[in-house]
């Protein structure tokens, strides 16, 4: 049950109501105050104060001041009138309830409206900002375009000027050429001069340069003849034989392909080497014995029967034919273990592990075996720490294997035992 705050005091003017509410020690924040047009509530659990006001107030402009253990409300009346009392008298429970709910709803609506208004203004601001930046960028772009355009026009003008000069030069030269031809024919000279005069008028630029170039042209005719004579005879025919850079591939050399090509050549060389090295001995072998897979199966069978040396031989031959199969090394390691060739067993398991990269679930099984075999070999050589390392690696791959766990434990004990004793 809330504790009602009833020791409020109020006074009024024509336009406003001043309400003072002592708080009895409770601390108030703006969240505790709820106010709508005709309903005022202050709820600071466990205290509660509510008032259904006599007449509607303007709740947006009204204020509440919190301080000194007191809330001081300044409520502006909607209609200037003097109230008989702060609250509505003879308000029954239902009416109160209704008013309360109404008030809450109204407040909610107002809140919604406010958020929407805020959203709209925010959007408008954003749009404005965007437009402003666009305008700036546009201005910048235009400025650059203008610069370019100016440059272009300047350059075009220069070009026109140059071109006109060229044209004049050309026309001038053609006229002079004609003139030279006619100079030799005396009687026609006068008529030609008349013609020259007529054609001279439109060419203002040309006429100025004419006297100078006439001299130049006549010189050039002579010099042309001289030059013709001075041209050497055509070279005596000869052939130069050309060799191209030697290349293995028929395609032309491309720098970006060099790495690929090197790799390909390397692989080819290796394959060839393998085939060549075995040629002499393999002649007496049957066809199936040249197949590494078949040899591996043979080796497995011999291992099962206990013929470890035979198995090793089979595996050796298989490795010579194809040294990239990890299972061959794995199985050979097992044979060496049985034969107590511990170093060879370690080597083979290591080689098998190398070939079993990348570590994927597919070769989990094989890797576990490789680690176990290598671990066993280490332990038999009394290199217990290395052995333990391998066993732990095996456990990591396959944590559910009890045998490996047991063996790993045994090794740990052994290590601790030796440490204690030494």
């Amino acid at each position: 049950m809330p504790l009602w705050l009833r020791e409020h005091s109020w006074r009024q003017t024509l336009t406003a109501v001043y309400l003072s509410l002592p708080l009895r020690g409770a601390r108030a924040t703006p969240a505790n105050i709820f106010c709508s047009e005709q309903y005022l509530k202050v709820s600071i659990p466990p205290f509660l104060f509510e008032a259904v006001l006599y007449a509607p107030i303007d709740d947006t402009n009204s204020t509440a001041k919190i301080g000194n253990g007191n809330i001081f409300f300044t409520l502006y009346k909607k209609e200037p009138a003097l109230w008989d009392s702060l609250t509505l008298a003879n308000a029954d429970k239902e009416k109160l309830q209704y008013l309360r709910e109404n008030a809450v709803l109204k407040a909610q609506e107002k809140a919604k409206e406010e958020t929407e208004a805020k959203k709209i203004t925010k959007q408008e601001h954003k749009k404005y900002a965007l437009e402003a930046t666009m305008k700036l960028e546009e201005a910048e772009r235009k400025r650059i375009e203008d610069l370019k355009e100016k440059e272009r026009q300047k350059v075009a003008k220069e070009l026109e000027l140059w071109k006109n000069q060229q044209k004049d030069g050309d026309k001038c030269k053609s006229i002079q050429a004609k003139e030279e031809l006619h100079q030799e024919i005396e009687p026609l000279k006068e008529r030609k001069n008349e013609k020259m005069n007529k054609t001279r008028i439109p060419l203002e630029g040309g006429s100025k340069t004419r006297p100078k170039s006439t001299r130049g042209c006549s010189c050039s005719i002579f010099s042309q003849d001289l030059k013709e004579e001075q041209l050497p005879a055509p070279r005596p025919a000869a052939t130069i034989k050309v060799n191209f850079t030697p290349r293995v591939f028929p395609t032309a050399l491309r720098e970006s392909r060099v790495a690929e090509e090197e790799e390909w050549l390397h692989k080819q060389a290796e394959a060839r080497r393998i085939i060549n090295s075995d040629l002499s001995e393999l002649e007496d072998l049957k066809e199936e014995e040249k197949n590494p897979e078949w040899l591996k199966d043979k080796g497995n069978k011999m291992f099962a029967m206990g013929d470890y040396l035979g198995a090793v031989n089979a595996y050796n031959l298989a490795v010579r034919l194809n040294n990239k199969l990890p299972l061959l090394y794995l199985n050979r390691a097992a044979c060496h273990l049985k034969l107590r060739n511990l170093h060879k067993a370690i080597e083979d398991s290591s080689k098998a592990l190398e070939l079993l990269t990348p570590p994927v679930p597919d070769n989990e099984n094989a890797r576990v075996k490789a680690h176990v075999r290598r671990g066993t070999a280490f332990c038999q050589l009394e290199l217990y720490t290395e052995g333990l390392q391998d066993y732990e690696a095996a456990l990591k791959i396959d944590p559910k294997n009890k045998i490996i766990e047991k063996d790993a434990e045994k090794i740990r004990h052994l290590i601790q035992g030796t440490m204690q004793s030494s």
Partner: protein
């Protein structure tokens, strides 16, 4: 690699763009004029030669000539300024020299090669250099042949693979070292990365090297001087600049290489007015303008006492992307500094102006 500062950098301005209805393989300025030629192959398998004139902001078609075989390359290098005959190599291996005023019958014609002529160069004409006018053609049949327009049917020099050797396509040829009447070299680049330098005076192989990627384009910085620099561009975005002044007996010429664009560098062209500036065009439709800076000492002595060249450094002046297709041909105008034309495989030819080259 040093960079030129912002506002002073040369700008590449695209002046005119002309869409063509055929694939353009080569574009060349007609010397001493504002006219340019486009050579290519029409869709129906015939060769096209178009002559345009630059009029303000557009190109005006002056003349169109159709030939039975598609034309791959052309040069004005071996003709005199008065005649201005065009030498072309076509897809069938024919070398023809045309008078553009009367293009029906070629002035000179020979079936020089068994396969397409990939590249052509001319020297001795246009008032540049001295000596006999000669044309060199490099073809897909692996041979490089030098022709004299005054001698019919047989080449004056023939660089062919040794009997029995598998041939490699010759992709590019260039003349150089033509500083007097006797001296001349031909540089040829092949699709397997071989670059071979043939000396025509002694008729021998002077130098060869392999740059590990097919050589798309070689050019000397000037044809008519003692050979100074050679730029060789290749596939996979790399190009090499060789310093040709000092040849070491075993190491050959010193070089600096740059990997600029991720794609093939199709062409390199030196600015006729400044031999240390050149432009490379790439398979991604971009053009890069480079400047070569000489080292403090161009040659030094190695441990045995023989002279060895020292390569300089390159700086990128500007780069611009004009097209999405490779720009396969590029030509600077010999008359106006900075004016150049480029033809790309998107069937457009563009006239560009490079500004501020005077300040370099």
């Amino acid at each position: 690699m040093s960079a030129v500062l912002g506002p002073e950098r040369p700008q590449v301005v695209s002046h005119v763009q002309q869409a063509l209805s055929y694939t353009v393989f080569d574009c060349k300025w007609v010397p001493r004029s504002a006219r340019l030629l486009c050579l290519g192959s029409a869709a129906r398998g015939t060769g096209v030669v178009q002559l345009y004139e630059l009029h303000g902001a557009r190109l005006e078609l002056l003349r169109e000539i159709e030939k039975p075989k598609p034309i791959k390359c052309g040069t004005f290098g071996a003709t005199s300024l008065q005649q201005r005959y065009l030498a072309t190599g076509d897809f069938d291996g024919n070398l023809n020299i045309w008078n553009l005023e009367a293009p029906e019958i070629p002035v000179y014609s020979v079936k020089g090669h068994k396969e397409i002529i990939n590249s052509i160069d001319g020297v001795g004409g246009l008032g540049i250099g001295e000596g006999a006018p000669e044309i060199v053609t490099g073809s897909r049949d692996g041979t490089v042949k030098v022709w004299d327009p005054r001698q019919n049917d047989t080449p004056v020099a023939n660089m062919e693979p040794v009997q029995g050797e598998s041939k490699r396509d010759c992709w590019t040829v260039a003349f150089g070292n033509a500083y007097n009447q006797e001296e001349r070299v031909v540089c040829a680049g092949y699709d397997n990365g071989d670059i071979k330098l043939f000396d025509l005076k002694t008729m021998s192989l002077r130098w060869e090297t392999n740059i590990k990627n097919g050589v798309c384009s070689v050019e000397f910085d000037r044809k008519d001087i003692n050979m100074n620099k050679l730029v060789a561009t290749s596939l996979e975005g790399k190009f090499h600049v060789f310093d040709m002044r000092t040849q070491h007996p075993t190491k050959g010429f010193a070089s600096v290489s740059e990997k600029a664009q991720k794609s093939t560098i199709w062409q390199v062209r030196h600015l006729p007015q400044n031999r240390d500036i050149f432009m490379t065009s790439g398979g991604s439709g971009s053009l890069h303008l480079w400047k070569y800076e000489y080292p403090a000492q161009r040659s030094k002595k190695d441990s045995e006492g023989s002279e060895m060249g020292v390569a300089g450094s390159l700086s990128l002046l500007q780069n611009v992307t004009l097209s999405t297709q490779p720009i396969s041909s590029l030509d600077w105008s010999p008359d106006k500094k900075g004016l150049c034309v480029c033809g790309a495989f998107d069937q457009t030819v563009r006239v560009l102006i490079v500004t501020k080259l005077n300040k370099i």
